[in-house]
Amino acid sequence: MTTPAAPPRTSATGTPHTRREGRAKVTGEARYTGDIPFAELAHGWLVTSTVARGRIRSVDTDTVLAMPGVLAVLHPGNALRLTPGAGLMGPDANLQLLQDDRVPHVGWPVALVVAETQEQARAGADALVITYDEEPYDTAFRADHPGLRPTAPSPLAMPDVDQGDPDAELAASAVVVDREYTTPEEFHNAMEPHAAMARWENGRLEVVDSNQGSYAVAQVLAALFSLDADTVRVRSEHVGGGFGSKGLRLPHTVLAVMATTILHRPVRVVLTRRQMFSLVGHRPATAQRVRLGADADGRLRVVEHETASPTSTVHEFAEQSTRHSRTLYAADAFRLRTRVVPLDVPTPGFMRAPGWAPGSFAVESAMDELAAEVGVDPIALRLRNEPETGPVSGLPFSSRNLVACLEEGARRFGWADRDPRPGVRRDGRWLLGTGVAAAAHSAGVGASTAAITAEADGTYTVRVTAADIGTGARTALGQIAADALEVSPESVRIRIADSDFGLAWLAGGSMGTASWAWAINEAAVALRKKLADLPGDMADLPPEGVTAHADTTELLAAREQRESHGYGAQFAEVAVDPASGEVRVRRMLGIFAVGRVVNPLTARNQFIGGMTWGLSMALHEEGVRDDASGGLANGDLAGYHVAANADVPLIEADWIDEHDTYNPSGIKGLGEIGIVGGAAAVANAVWHATGVRHRHLPISLERVLSGGRR
């Protein structure tokens, strides 16, 4: 059968598309959870502990209950009982809110005041007197802490590795770099604070939430409140950033559900900026020891990487900093360790490129030190240690173009003209230097479902429980669906962020688009088959349209194992004033290999955003814990500095063409790799500028003035 020649259709993917919701966002029409009006809405305000460890002795509710508008004060004495064991990725006791009188850290939720208005709720929360039986606490993290221990087995834990004979290889190495690197506590600070509205309607629990995955949140809530999964519906309209903080910990959501269940009216809880510094998971501090043993020409014999990070006494979360060491460089032997120190601090969690970001700082700094020791160009050193297969896994790479990234980046950055000597370039009061680092991030896929309906009017509706947390996911999925259906993106309606659409991976782990795209492609194939099997043509569709579903669970389980990552190369030029300690980044370039790039516009946005995080991690970000209280001394945006506009110079990001069908969609994910290696590139450039090696982040005025001491 022949078909009449159609005009050639331009592929939607790979061409720039502005955000579908862009106009709504810039005109203020787009609503975030805290903005949406609901009839009869009551407002909850969280009260958090001011002591680092102890027990609640009393909660003086009488005074507050007599205040104008106050409806209830929830506290451990009257809270709903929750089902133990609930959690997104295994049980997480952080969800067990108001269940007992134990206070595990400063900032732990101890009560929720619910009132008619947000102002009344806040006034009640401010007035609530809580007394504590305080206990001695320990919030000071250090790598030689006596509480240091191996991590407990968990789905997230990278197992320790002993491969080859590290001791023998160290002994045989001509050069050994053996250094300790540290990174401080860091905080996501999504622009939109966490918020959730919960209400019971027609026997169902409806939650409008700010999250990275409504299906996962619905599952957690169902488990926590012992509800049928079908009873719970979680959705969001727009989400203003997540970065890993809107999925694992849900204090706002859990307490909104608890309050609405008790009060029988809609309740919204919005976290304050300060509360976001202790309740939504943050990147823990790390202390990392890296030992690289190499031959005189820089070929690695052994990679040792031990990372330690603090966790809470509530739940163990370990920063998996050794991930970087597992995929970057070939070596004859590996010794990799992950350790934690439980302290009386908030539980850390996922933050943009968890593990990869701090791990890459340590390893890529150590590689720069090795290059200087051996007298090899830092890029040449990396090329010399390029592996054939996964260095630890032994698996074939699904694709790997680190070399291409380094070479293309070197060409565009002008690396060939670089004088390797440190501390010899001046521009007025500034010393100038350049640095490079490699980047990687796992390219994972999570099981997802999707449904596509061919509507009677000739358009298509895609339903998938994706989340667009500002990344442009809606737009990218529209492009993917359009290509899969061979129609224009304008004829495709994208509906996301509703748990009723079924199982889907979160907007996390750089896996969202890759996971949803696979399911959408499968659904499109199924739909086109269904449509082809229909008698008649598209004009004869039933009023409800024709819908096809897909579920990638089995396809995913049947995949062969591969070493599958995105790779990249980061370059930075910095200026350092040794007299004032000021460090300014003058330019950054990132070249990435991340498989298929669906939307160049939003992809570049993600890369540049990530690289800005890397700059900020290198120079600014540091949570300072106050030993006198156990709380953060700078837990707000005045005290916790993130890079501001004037700190961010020319940042260029680009990518190389890469075809990798390990995921049939060709997508490897690119949300997080932009931060990986960024801090190391800056730190390596600071060394090149000044001759002083900075192994402790951030590279503050104080550290520059004191020559890089801890």
């Binding site: 001011t50 007299a579 300690g581 300014r584 106050d626 006198a628 004037a646 005025l701």
Partner: protein
């Protein structure tokens, strides 16, 4: 936030009268600091008297060249004023180094002088702070104090004054003009900010109920060659870790006039009179600048975690005076 009354004054006398006898009242200028403190519960006024509309928003030039800057002039207008930019460039630079464009459009000169410390403990109601709650203790002394004082502090308080503008005013011998129910008065800036002592909650010599109406800058030819240099942890939106306002007049290699003030080192802008004394009549060399800085910093008592400020300030003295000298050549 406590509910409060709001009154708008038509002139300075009415403003003073409105505040008179109201111990829990505050003047409201641009509100860029006071309103934040009200939101966090540090300030809980019962009455705000809005003085931003008072006709005190201009600069007057006296016959001898002195400038009187009206108290309700915005920071933006101050920094843009030709007389300030040409005759006191360090003042314009200092103002522009502070806050953001949006804040400078709101903030007033009088309010800038009275802004409170940004010590984190001062705004954290759950922690002791002698400035906020006299007698409760100083959390910063043995706590987080990377950006606290190295000069003039006491065990009762180690907080710094956050103003950039006031550092330049201190260098140029500014005089604060005030109005009280009893009449007008003048307070030299050198006496305006009180020593910390054991009363860190008493920050200024402003009499109760007094309104700042303006600031007078005496004529100072040396100020025409002046600079403000602010060092901070990021390029904008940050308070200083150390700053300097400096003016230098050199003839035949000899220092004839010099003004130096530091910011972010004490509870008030720190006029470096020891350094000035060491320089006057001597050679204008980097060695002399360094020696002068050392003379001033001999009094420095860094805390456990802010010792970096001593070399920072020393380096700023040398580099800023060197730049001023080179620019004059």
């Amino acid at each position: 936030m406590r509910e409060f009354d709001y009154r708008r004054a038509a002139d300075a006398h009415e403003a003073v009268a409105l505040l008179s006898g109201e111990p829990e009242a505050r003047f409201l200028g641009g509100g860029t600091n006071l309103v934040d403190l009200m939101k966090t519960g540090v300030e809980n006024p019962a009455l705000l008297v809005d003085v931003r509309g008072l006709p005190l928003d201009r600069i007057e030039v006296a016959g001898d060249g002195a400038l009187t800057i009206g108290a309700t002039m915005t920071n933006s207008d101050l920094a843009a004023h030709p007389e300030v930019r040409h005759r006191y460039p360090a003042l314009a630079e200092a103002v522009l180094a502070g806050a953001s464009g949006q804040l400078r459009n709101m903030a007033t000169v009088g309010g800038n002088l009275l802004q409170r410390t940004r010590c984190g403990y001062f705004t954290d109601l759950s922690r002791p702070c002698n400035k906020r709650e006299p007698g409760s203790g100083c959390s910063a002394l043995n706590g987080e104090h990377h950006n606290h004082a190295i000069l003039g502090w006491s065990e009762h308080c180690v907080a710094t004054n956050p103003s950039d503008m006031a550092v330049a005013l201190a260098a140029f011998d500014a005089v604060v003009r005030v109005l009280t129910p009893e009449g007008s008065a003048e307070i030299p800036l050198a006496d305006f900010y009180l020593p910390v002592g054991d009363t860190p909650h008493r920050e200024t010599a402003l009499p109760d109920g007094a309104l700042i109406t303006g600031v007078t800058l005496p004529a100072a030819p040396v100020a025409a060659r002046s600079r403000y240099r602010k060092v901070r942890e990021r390029a904008s939106y940050a308070f200083a870790n150390g700053s300097i306002a400096a003016a230098l007049h050199v003839e035949d290699g000899t220092v004839r006039d010099v003004r130096i003030a530091f910011g972010a080192v004490a509870s008030r802008p720190w006029r470096a009179r020891e350094a000035e004394r060491a320089l006057i009549g001597g050679p204008a060399t980097p060695e002399a600048f360094a020696a002068a800085a050392d003379a001033e910093l001999a009094a420095a008592r860094p805390l456990a975690h802010n010792g970096y400020k001593v070399p920072l300030i020393r380096n700023l003295v040398v580099s800023t005076l060197t730049e001023l000298q080179e620019a004059a050549r």
